[in-house]
């Protein structure tokens, strides 16, 4: 248990630093940036307390906000996807989730892709709507959401494949 807490803290700090020091400076084609800090929310253990989970998601969003001068944009999006995660887990993994024995490294790639995509698209849509804050620019919001989501999903899948322990 103690080991898991240290592991989570380490993941939290590393993801925030990687996000703000490296990934926020990519600006592929001028505006496309991946937001991989949501991996923390996506991969948070299912069994742990939900209240703590929502609060930690808020904290990671707020830390990114602090670095990017974006008010509460990332905090709002992170807290939102943290709260709606259980129904999406149920939708994408079905009965395995019901038994509460889910291990992300051992799930089917197709289902994992669906799960990642739904959370990422919702998260990015909230970020960009709040950042632009103008519904007349809906095309801009959707465009940013689409391209950044593709980038984020690809990176997230790559990272989970690279850093997952081989199932024995």
């Amino acid at each position: 248990m103690n080991n898991a807490v240290i592991n989570m803290t380490f993941r939290f700090i590393v993801l925030v630093l990687v996000q703000v020091l490296i990934l926020n400076n990519i600006n592929f084609l001028g505006y496309i940036n991946p937001y991989i800090y949501i991996l923390f929310i996506i991969l948070y253990p299912v069994k742990n307390s939900r209240t703590l989970f929502v609060f930690l998601s808020f904290l990671i969003g707020l830390s990114v906000d602090l670095f990017t001068d974006s008010g509460g944009v990332h905090a709002a999006a992170s807290v939102f996807i943290a709260y709606i995660r259980p129904p999406i887990l149920k939708f994408s993994f079905g009965t395995i989730y019901e038994n509460q024995t889910i291990k992300f490294a051992q799930t089917e790639p197709g289902k994992r892709l669906i799960y990642f995509s739904i959370l990422t698209v919702i998260h990015h849509f909230i970020i960009f709507s709040l950042e632009v804050f103008n519904m007349s620019d809906i095309i801009l919001i959707l465009q940013k959401t689409l391209f950044s989501s593709i980038f984020t999903i690809l990176l997230c899948l790559l990272i989970t494949v690279l850093f997952s322990k081989k199932p024995r």
Binding site: N27, D65, L66, D69, G71, A76, Y83, V132
Partner: protein, 273 residues
């Protein structure tokens, strides 16, 4: 009472979610109004410190480019110096430095962004060095933005690539003034609106700061006109301006302090009432 407590305990996740979500929405809304986004900013001790460390590494990779910019500016200043006989107001770029009331301080940019709709820069000088809110920030090539938040050692600059920014600007060869805004499309172009349709507008003309606010002295270069169009009402020009500055690559900046600001403000305040 028992039921209320039970309700809170049963729905504690939802209530916490609601509280945090509303809190972050409030922070977001606050960040959209000028001069109010104080709490969440990258100028605090922790974020400023981390950006400073990261920048000290990154600065090595930009040394060559920085040197080129310095050499370029040196040669421009030299040519001004040796040709001083034909020096007139139109030739100097930062001519207002000759007036005593504008003073320049240098600073290093430790964080820059240009891909959002509200972009900010963080610089490594703060209130300890006399940096205050509402000072102008420029580079040797053109304007960068306005200081909006300072801590002891760091300050945050509202970039001209920010939908909140409105800067007074004018055509170089006539005195028609307008406001400089950004339509979020490209970090290379900004827009100048509210230019009277009687103004002589040509593609390639230079745009400079207007000197109507106490923030920037008159005559700091901004960019050249790339395209222009009459707006919907038919009596104002909207100009698309290509910036002299490469906003995606800014290393060192100058901060302008105007010692007359207080005097100008004290004159202007009674007029508003």
């Amino acid at each position: 009472m028992q039921q209320i407590i039970n309700f809170v305990i049963r729905n504690k996740t939802f209530l916490l979610f609601l509280l945090l979500f509303v809190l972050s929405l409030a922070l977001t809304i606050q960040s959209h109004s000028y001069h109010k986004s104080k709490f969440i900013s990258s100028t605090n001790f922790l974020t400023g410190g981390i950006y400073n460390k990261a920048n000290s590494i990154k600065a090595y990779f930009n040394l060559k480019k920085e040197n080129e910019i310095l050499v370029e500016e040196n040669s421009r200043l030299k040519s001004l110096l040796y040709n001083y006989k034909i020096l007139d107001e139109n030739l100097t770029l930062i001519d207002s430095s000759f007036h005593e009331n504008f003073k320049f301080k240098t600073a290093t940019v430790i964080k820059n962004s240009y891909s959002h709709t509200k972009n900010y820069l963080t610089i490594d000088k703060g209130s300890n060095e006399g940096i205050k809110q509402d000072l102008g920030v420029i580079t040797s090539k053109g304007i960068v933005g306005i200081i909006d938040n300072t801590t002891k050692n760091y300050s945050r600059v509202i970039s001209i690539l920010n939908t909140k920014s409105r800067i007074n600007a004018q055509l170089k060869n006539s005195n028609h003034i307008g406001s400089l805004i950004w339509n979020t499309k490209s970090p290379e172009y900004v827009q100048l609106i509210d230019i009277s349709k009687f103004a002589p507008v040509k593609v390639g003309d230079t745009i400079i700061t207007g000197g109507q606010s106490s923030i920037f002295p008159k005559g700091i270069p901004i960019g050249t006109i790339a395209t222009f169009a009459i707006d919907v009402n038919g009596d104002m020009y909207t100009l698309n301006i290509k910036l002299f500055n490469d906003m995606t690559n800014i290393g060192h900046v100058f901060i302008i302090t105007n010692s007359d600001t207080d005097e100008i403000k004290s004159l202007e305040v009674p007029l508003d009432e």
